[in-house]
Amino acid sequence: MTASSRRFPLSRRRLLTAAASLGAGVIAAPYVARAEEPVLNVTGWGGKWGDVMKAEIGPAFETEFKCKLKTDTALPFLPKLQASSRSAPVYDVLHTNSNEQWAAVEMGLVEPKVDPKLVPNIADVYPYAVSDKIVGVCIFTSAIGLGMRTDKGYGNVTSWKDYWDAKFNGARGGYVIPANSLGQAFVMMCGTLYGKGQTDLDAAYAALEKLKPIKLVDFTGAMEKLILSGEAGIGILHDSGIYRYDGQNQPVDFVTPSEGVLSLEQVLSITPGSKVKELGNAYINYMLRPDVQKRLAETVWYSPANKKVKLDAKYDAKLLTTPEKVSKLIQVDWKWYNAQKDEIDSRVNRIFRA
């Protein structure tokens, strides 16, 4: 026996211990390495949006910025953010529709605006994407109009007011207004159509009363199913909810009402207590990049907010990709709406109860 082997005798136990440690180290190494990477917690949608984010857009962001992107797709987001600590929020970047962004900013949960110096791509967005009706920055928008069946012989529909036509009684689809952005935007449209403007709630309530009988759903996905199944012949829907069935031979079409389309904005904002604000700004900037915008727009049929994006002809023909088309968008004053929300909810719940 040599001197060294006496000093470090290689017993079976020692060998097994060493092998186990080495194995554990090999398995844990990637996790240990990743643990050093910053983590960006964001919210996002499921469905096709979630698929393309998970498969392409998200991993590309992680590689480029050497970070981990964790996306929460389980609604509702705001109560979770509301329940988390202000100094260590559950999300760094909040992605929701405008109505919830305004509620979040009122509660101090998100920052009111995104700094254009930190997000250079903001310089290329349409004015509506950073207007005074927007918290943070809008990265995509959809046009809220009317989705309808084309096989029921309803004839030509051109105006929002056609939605009230008696021929749609029992075949009209609407939203649970307290819970849905499209439903809430539609309340404001009712005020515009039958009253003095968006804030004319009495006119809106009277108009809503005349929509019965109506079938109510909570999400746009449910409205799509309602129309696809034939349970509803007409419903309030965003263009994406119809265009995504392009090429599938479905008897459905999107109507752009002559009075204009309401804007359904996809908005990103940063939480004040985020520890990775720099990364959050980088994420927003990345989501506004023309190549990312194009990929997402052509996957989910959302109109890109970046005016430099060039979509393929099929998408360009239908989506809001020019200043002229964008000018038809009607933005809602969500700050005002949210201030009246309890009163509106109470009233519309009464109107639509069976």
Binding site: Q82, S84, R86, D345, A354
Partner: protein
């Protein structure tokens, strides 16, 4: 004084510790927090300067809409309980008295079968039956029996149908155990003394099965008034119940305080009804211990 006279803790009592801990953590603590949140102006964990307020309860009192919602919730709960009892009792009686082991097993499987499927799936199955374009309306239309679809869902009837289907097994399983323990010779004695089978049932079996009726009804009622998925889907969002309103307040209005106040009201009403129900049935059955 001898040491043996000191009270000794039964070591078996320690077995109750895990369940006591479970109740304390997941029952009393959440309800206590809910009670506190219902009288605060905000969440003290994340907001500074939170004070006490009664505005959430005042809001309910000042708007009759919320009282209507409470009554709708109770009404749906009562109808569901009654229907589950009417359907479940004969089935439970049959199961308890059937001689054949195979027959009992088949009945048990039939009762349990719906419970093997999730509530959401079962509710969607009802939707395919009850909707305007559903199986029932399509069949009736194809036979020329109706020209316009019957309104089978998007109303309280649809909700009650769905809830009864889901909760009948709870009623049956609770009743079967109680009826099975009733000595059949009591009924036979009543019949030997001249009572008809129906009278023997009314005067012997039914009173003796009241504890089962009480337990089953309380279980079904509690589940029915706290149901969320079935009222949402079969009510088509047009029937507002307290659980739906509570969820709406949290998810869409972000008003945790008002949601907590609504939750406290639901809890108070449930407890009041349970106590009243216990009291009445205790009196009827002569079981003073229930009061």
């Amino acid at each position: 004084m001898p040491a043996s006279s000191a009270p000794r803790v039964n070591s078996l009592a320690l077995l109750i510790l895990p369940s006591a801990l479970l109740f304390a953590l997941f029952f009393f603590l959440p309800i206590g927090l809910m009670a506190v949140m219902s009288v605060l102006t905000g969440n003290p964990v994340v907001m500074p300067n939170v004070g006490f307020t009664t505005r959430h309860y005042a809001r309910m009192g000042n708007d009759s809409y919320y009282l209507e919602v409470i009554w709708t919730t109770i009404r749906i709960g009562l109808w569901t309980t009654l229907a589950a009892l009417v359907i479940g009792y004969p089935l439970a009686h049959w199961m308890a008295r059937i001689r054949s082991r195979t027959g009992h097993a088949l009945l048990l499987m039939a009762v349990l079968a719906p419970m093997l499927t999730g509530i959401v799936v079962r509710t969607f199955a009802w939707m395919t039956l009850l909707s305007d374009k559903g199986v029932i309306n399509q069949i009736l239309t194809s036979f020329g029996l109706i020209t316009r679809p019957l309104q089978l869902m998007y109303n309280e009837t649809g909700i009650i149908i769905g809830l009864v289907h889901i909760y009948v097994p709870f009623m049956v399983l609770t009743l079967t155990g109680v009826i099975g323990r009733i000595d059949e010779r009591l009924e036979q004695a009543a019949e030997n003394l001249g009572a008809s089978p129906w009278r023997a049932f009314i005067e012997v079996t039914l009173p003796l099965s009241l504890p089962g009726i009480l337990a089953g009804s309380l279980l079904v009622f509690a589940l029915a008034i706290s149901a969320y998925v079935t009222p949402i889907l079969l009510g088509g969002f047009q029937i507002m119940t307290l659980p739906i309103l509570i969820y709406q307040q949290i998810s869409a209005n972000f008003n945790v305080g008002f949601a907590a106040a609504l939750g406290m009201v639901l809890l108070t009403i449930s407890l009041s009804l349970v106590i009243a129900y216990n009291h009445v049935l205790g009196l009827v059955s002569g079981q003073r211990g229930l009061q």
